[in-house]
């Protein structure tokens, strides 16, 4: 690089190299970053702005007038919103805790399995990779009322006297929803935790065993604390996924019966794309984003506090 602005004494070759590196860096990052700014961050800003306006696509002649916090006030006074928030929280807590427990069991089993690890990996990876829509349909089929295999098995086993109409009950409808989510995403959790387990120094376990610690003690005192970073990462990914749940419930229950299983994302979708209330829908969108953001910040803090103690980062 040639620099001819006379100020040569302060610009060592190192300096100009750094400048070249910086320029190249930004040039290479710019296209990808520009795309993300344009298609993700700008729309989000627009959503925030829209949420302060009255904007109803069914009544375009009303235009888009500034209404301040009116949309948010309406939201807070709508029981359906609070119910959808409660459904989301319930779904997230129930499915994520089941997934973490099952995922841990599966990861421990996979780590010990000497043979057939490839088979296990393949079996659990396919549910993870298939479309959520397909997972929802499979479980809807299993839980059908008239010829569903779940009813048939439960009746044959003497647990039920007659078929249950799972999707018609406000409580029973949750069963296939949560099972489908657990079935689809436990593998991901298990693989994350398995990666964490493989990062733990095996000599730690050996020396603990020599010192006479039982299996349970080794698990709770050594394995779990060392696995903390991996568990946290799995928790972050799964919770943030669970609170934006849409596909699974849209296809499995449609939010029903009534709105008994409707999460926030589904309520927002119906406000936006079915009722075309864009202003109100934007307020809902901002709310769900804020919840996700808040959780992400809390988790990042937790992870940050964990830095340097964990075993899984190379």
């Amino acid at each position: 690089m040639n620099r001819r602005d006379g100020d040569t004494c302060s610009s060592t070759p190192d300096d100009s190299l750094a400048r070249e590196e910086r320029r190249l860096g930004w040039t290479l990052v710019a296209p990808a970053l520009g795309v993300v700014l344009l298609v993700a961050i700008a729309p989000l800003a627009w959503t925030v702005w829209e949420s302060f306006h009255h904007h109803d696509l069914r009544m375009p002649w009303l235009g888009r007038s500034f209404v301040g916090l009116a949309n948010y006030r309406e939201l807070l006074g709508t029981p359906r919103f609070w119910a959808s928030l409660a459904h989301t929280a319930f779904f997230a807590v129930a499915s994520v805790s089941l997934e973490l427990i099952l995922g841990l069991v599966l990861a421990l089993a996979m780590q010990r399995a000497s043979r057939g690890r490839a088979l296990i990996r393949a079996t659990v990876l396919v549910p993870w990779a298939l479309p959520t829509v397909v997972a929802a349909l499979l479980w809807r089929f299993l839980f059908q009322s008239d010829a569903g295999v779940v009813n048939a098995v439960l009746i044959a086993a003497g647990v039920l006297d007659q078929p249950v109409v799972w999707l018609a009950g406000t409580v029973t409808a949750w069963v296939p929803v949560i099972l489908a989510d657990v079935w689809k995403t436990t593998p991901f959790v298990a693989l994350l935790l398995l990666a964490g387990l493989q990062g733990i120094d095996p000599t730690l376990h050996e020396s603990a065993a020599i010192d006479g610690a039982g299996r349970w003690r080794v698990l709770t005192r050594i394995t779990l604390p060392l696995l903390r970073p991996a568990i946290l990462v799995a928790l972050v990914f799964r919770t943030l996924d669970a609170i934006r749940v849409f596909d699974l419930i849209y296809v499995l229950t449609g939010g029903g019966p009534g709105t008994a299983t409707e999460p926030v994302a589904l309520y927002t979708f119906s406000a936006l794309m079915q009722n075309l209330r864009f202003g109100y829908g934007a307020a809902l969108s901002v709310t769900i984003f804020a919840v996700a953001f808040l959780l992400a910040v809390i988790y990042v803090r937790l992870l940050g506090a964990d830095d340097g103690r964990g075993g899984s980062t190379t």
């Binding site: 290479l28 993700a40 729309p43 479309p131 829509v133 929802a136 499979l138």
Partner: protein, 270 residues
Amino acid sequence: MTTWLRRGALAFILLLFAFPFYWAIVASLTPEASLFQAPSLVPRTLVLDHYRALFTERDFGTPIRNSLIVAGATTALCITLGTLAAYALARLRFRGRSAVLGALLAVTMFPQISIVSPLYILLRALHLLDTYPGLVLPYLTFAMPLTVWLLTTYFRQLPGELEDAARVDGASRWQTFTRVLLPLAMPGIATTAILTFIYCWNEFLFALSFTLGPERWTVPVAIALFRGQYQVPWGQILAAAVVATAPVAALVLAFQRRIVQGLTSGAVKG
């Protein structure tokens, strides 16, 4: 004793995971008439009727073509731009680098629903609703950050010595990138492309919101909106589910080791 118990438990869990597939495949091959009788674990008669109907009566080929085009185009775009960005983020030192990475990670945590309405209005204004670009553009919102993030972790893992050696030999940064690092990063780029493709193939919310009819439906939308004339056409739905799963299952089985590595390293090294 305990080994057998553990093996038995593991086998049982795996059977539970595999059962829904088995059941769906069997049902997709069962004649419509016997679908609603008492289910039997081992099928008596198997027919390809539902698969045939899927492509003759339903034109399921259209959603498959749509999905291939949209997922393929999105993946190609993301890999091209993402590789450049990831190289810079992993290998060059410049101020703002970690801010860019942080912003990209934050975008992956967005709830998709919160940008559906602005994207809808934008696409409508550009007359892109119900078109292929009208899906590729929204897909970039989740695919681009994912690609850059995964590729950055791959580029970071490459040894620095080769790069230094090339530099000493007088290669420019750009030459070092294209001649030395890019060939080394190819396995990582391939894995990232597979993962991106799978995410696009499976996407539902955007495809549901930004297409207007069966002509542009992607596979997940077409399956979800399957309707029968009198009753739920379970045979065809499950046949469609099997067809929709086949490509991702094949990719996953063929590249499982790499995919697991990509998934876990991308997440754990955050």
